[in-house]
Symmetry: C2
Subunit: 177 residues, 2 copies
DNA sequence: TCAGGTAATGTTATAAAGTAACGCATGACT
DNA sequence: AGTCATGCGTTACTTTATAACATTACCTGA
């Protein structure tokens, strides 16, 4: 519910309750392939599958949850899930992180598909404590305020983590439409 | 080096290399006592000791490091360190967090003394990847940008995490003014 | 001053998250 | 084909965090 497919303009982010998420996933995978091709990176079946599992989850998902699903998954060819161990998943996630295809939510120890992997950005997230959804925003005012502050102090920015916990509009008591 | 005693104005934060940190610690403990008294909270010897250990560390410190030091510490009465186990430390840290006396740095799984525990605030941190120091800033432009964004989306903010990784001026090679 | 409750701490065990190290397999490149 | 680098399987382990229950310290009102 959280991953607004094309909505990078806040307002719609938490409102798409019943969208066709399978479509989001498909699209994300296609974009990921394009990006990897462009960057000369190999989106192997395993990595692809992990990315798909992360995207399929409507909420940020922990590495061990990914692992469990990976093991449960039945391959398209009929064979059963991979005999995966933690390093398998962590390596795939590291790859996906490196190429900006997923983000890690530090305050949850969890991972989520990047909503706009084209641009270079650290993620900014609004995380609902009630429904668990995390909406990725990319507000330039926030980024700029942080950069300005760092520059003033002489601090060289590498990675920026912005995670806002609270309640999404749907869970705030507002009866959802 | 990081905990600027009274400096809440960015510029000085990373520059106080050789300050009297023992003084910072003392002051922090006094302020903590005042706050706990005011709030009717009990800053027990254990909690006080944990707070002191966190403050003594110049860098954000992990719970298990606190634990180790707690066990090593020799009490003023001559008795040896406490027979502490993880829950002991985590409970103390939870207490300190609840009362705003320390912050947790999510991206490091570590804790750091709050530089200005008077005000109600989530922490914003600039974390040097080289020297490990973390400077707490409190920039209203950042806070406001985040609040505005949330309000626009209808998101109710509970806790805000801002953690900026990079290099402090002292570690950037830039000769500090 | 002593029951009786509540809050704090001790204690044991276990869960959850993450990584090191090694070897084989696969694929890219010559 | 041979060689090198990358990806992945596997084992074992480390680090971080919590659950559950026992015990102790502290307060408060008979
Ligand atoms: Zn993103
Ligand atoms: Zn919600
Ligand atoms: Zn603070
Ligand atoms: Zn530094």
């Amino acid at each position: 519910m959280a991953h607004a497919p094309a909505a990078s303009d806040g307002t719609a982010i938490f409102e798409q309750a019943e969208h066709d998420h399978a479509h989001c996933v498909d699209q994300a995978l296609h974009v990921a392939e394009a990006i990897c091709t462009r960057e000369g990176a190999r989106l192997t079946p395993l990595r692809r599958q992990v990315l798909e599992l992360v995207w399929r989850s409507h909420e940020p998902i922990g590495a061990y949850d990914v692992l469990a699903r990976l093991q449960r998954e039945v391959q398209t060819d009929g064979t059963d899930g991979r005999p995966a161990a933690p390093p398998t998943v962590y390596r795939a996630l590291d790859f996906l992180l490196k190429h900006g295809l997923v983000h890690r939510i530090e305050s949850l120890n969890a991972y989520v598909g990047c909503a706009h992997p084209q641009q270079d950005h650290s993620g900014q997230f609004l995380i609902c404590q009630e429904c668990g959804n995390a909406a990725e925003i990319e507000d330039d005012t926030i980024s700029k305020a942080i950069r300005d502050n760092a520059r003033r102090i002489g601090f060289t920015v590498d990675r920026v983590t912005v995670e806002v916990s609270g309640r999404c509009p749907r869970c705030t008591g507002a009866p959802h439409a």
